[in-house]
Amino acid sequence: MANDPSEKDPASKPPASGAEGKPVAQKPAEPPQSPVAAANPPATPDSTAAKPAAPAAPAAPKAAAPPAKEAPPKPLPLDNELVQRLKGRFGDAIREATLDRKQAIVTIAVDQLREISRYCRDDEKFDMLVDLTAVDWPKREKRFDVILILYSFAKNERVRLKAHAGENEPVPSVCEIWPAANWLERECYDMFGMVFEGHPKLTRILMPDEWQGYPLRKDYDILKQDTDWVRENLGIESGQ
């Protein structure tokens, strides 16, 4: 017995549990964002509770006036102790450090990945590799972003290491530092075609062994593959 899917207006009423008859408020779309998110017009009348990147404006005092100006979340440069230690130790290999939505991202040089990882695990106590993945930016010269998300139990803190790798550039494997990376790197290889140097057995993991192509690349067109296959093997046009 689902109830009316009417959108509630957070700003106006005191608690009313069941008497909501407020019509769905048509909210204007958020202002179009350019890839460079700097200096955006902050005030959008339909944003609500505290934004992480801006000073937290509590949700309560929004009685009748349009909400206070809140900047939409955007990456900010980061320079905390961890970054300083890393820069001190590795110098140029630490390309950039940002804080996006309150999460620390450190962009590093890919050839130093293993050393930096080892340092993070041993000295900075990031003993768990939470995730290892990749993102494909085909228009960039070095199209792949290798992302390692690390977690430290002692400090209860996460950090994200990001490295740019080119299409045929081998990425050092971190399997011997965190055994968790074994399957994660195989999945990156399977989905993106990134070769990890030093991986004990880099084979496809999710796709069948003889699959051609790397599915998560942006130029891998599912529909095109499907229509081509159907045309070749069934001799008809796929209706998709």
């Binding site: 017995m1 109830n3 009316d4 899917p5 509630k8 207006d9 957070p10 608690p15 009313a16 549990s17 909501e20 408020a25 048509q26 779309a29 964002q33 350019s34 890839p35 998110a37 955006n40 339909d46 944003s47 609500t48 509770a49 934004k51 992480p52 801006a54 949700a59 809140e70 939409p72 979340p73 955007k74 990456p75 996006d100 939505r101 003993d127 768990m128 939470v130 995730d131 993945t133 993102v135 494909d136 992302i147 998300i149 139990f153 209860n156 996460r158 994200r160 965190w178 055994p179 968790a180 074994n182 399957w183 496809r204 993991i205 999710l206 796709m207 069948p208 998560l216 891998y220 599912i222």
Partner: protein
């Protein structure tokens, strides 16, 4: 090399390699692999010397699909990953997108989300318990567990219309208000539930045969668990007292008091005890939450068309299987640029080799069951 995905007509096929070693294949179709999982075991007599898990039979390309859907359109897809605990998947995704947008769901929505997620945790653990006991040979607990799970699924059906793949939450909050009688239903379930768990415990916990089949089987040390990235009850049973609901609270978990059960050895019996205790703790959370569901809006004001500012976010929750994380990259358009799901079952399954080495063939089934994997999540 033959097609590695050839299904076997019988459960077993053997190739005798050396004088002593046999490769035993638990094919993708097998009553006890909980889905389409293929395990290749290298045996020396009765002992497992080496093992390899071959996955990918249920790969549906969820991450690729995400790049071609809008944020709201993708939300039902995440239910299909860990289909046993769909509500948790939805919670993780909605919260991740909310973080990306820079908003937060209102308090009432967060509390109701917490209640539903904890009920889902109980349901997931019940299914795990039933099937795990069934693998080890106890034929009765599965029916009792499903009877309780039925009650929870009825609550979900009354709330959002679906039992299994619920799509219960929306980005920004909830779509549906709780139905009349929601608190009573949950309270009635929680009141009954203690002596139900006691029933299961009577059948299993002190039973000599159960203890004999599970103690000392599939031991995973804490150091190994952390190195392998294992999370969830498996990590807690190995001795690491860590739960995302306490370490990095999300939804409304910081409002409630509950314990994190931990054990020391990291064998199958410990994982069993941890999950039983987790069910009790989830019930406590539900009881605390329904005492006092705050009134207020259930949806944040975020608009129909979602275009998060460019950037990326990683948000994870404590799903019943472990740490379920979503890494979402936005390029400012209405469709995500990349959605990466950090699947707890996938990473926990890596630990299978470590656990199974040196154990007996008859224990392999118990070890697979105790990791609690769902192939939908392993393969996505």
């Amino acid at each position: 090399m033959s097609d590695p995905r050839t299904t076997e007509l019988t459960n077993v096929s053997t190739t005798v390699l050396g004088a002593d070693e046999i490769i035993l294949n638990m094919g993708p179709q097998h009553p006890s692999t909980h889905g389409v999982l293929r395990v290749k075991l290298k045996l020396d007599g009765e002992r497992v010397v080496d093992s390899e898990c071959i996955i990918g039979y249920l790969h549906r390309g969820v991450e690729k699909i995400a790049e071609h859907r809008s944020y709201q359109q993708f939300a039902p897809y995440v239910d299909r990953m860990d289909y046993v605990a769909a509500v948790s998947n939805g919670l993780g995704y909605c919260e991740a997108v909310e973080k990306l947008l820079g908003t937060e769901a209102p308090l009432r929505a967060r509390v109701v989300r917490t209640i539903l997620t904890e009920l889902q945790r109980i349901a997931s653990h019940l299914l795990w318990l039933g099937t795990h006991a069934l693998d080890i040979g106890a034929l009765t607990p599965v029916f009792y567990c499903f009877r309780e799970r039925e009650e929870i699924l009825k609550i979900f059906e009354k709330y959002c219309g679906a039992r299994l793949t619920t799509h219960a939450f929306r980005i920004g909050g909830l779509q549906y208000e709780t139905y009349d009688g929601f608190e009573q239903d949950v309270k009635r379930f929680c009141d009954d539930f203690t002596h139900r768990i006691d029933e299961y415990e009577t059948l299993l916990t002190e039973n000599r045969i159960w203890v004999g089949r599970t103690k000392g089987v599939g031991i995973l040390s804490a150091a190994d668990a952390i190195a392998l990235g294992v999370t969830g009850p498996v990590l807690r049973a190995s001795g690491v007292k860590w739960d995302l609901r306490k370490a990095m609270p999300y939804a409304a978990y910081d409002l409630y008091k509950f314990e994190i059960p931990t054990r020391e050895t990291g064998d199958t019996y410990d994982r069993y005890v941890v999950r039983m205790e987790e069910m009790r703790q989830s019930r406590l959370i539900c009881l605390q939450a329904i005492e006092n569901i705050p009134t207020g809006p259930i949806m944040a004001r975020i608009g129909k068309v979602l275009k998060p500012p460019p950037g990326e976010v990683y948000h994870s929750i404590e799903a019943p299987k472990g740490e379920l994380g979503y890494y979402i990259v936005s390029d400012g358009t209405t469709q995500p640029y990349r959605v990466r799901v950090r699947p707890p079952s996938f990473i926990n399954l890596q630990a299978f080799d470590k656990m199974a080495r040196g154990s007996l063939v008859a224990d392999v089934v118990a070890i697979i069951g105790t990791i609690d994997i769902v192939l939908g999540e392993v393969d996505r």
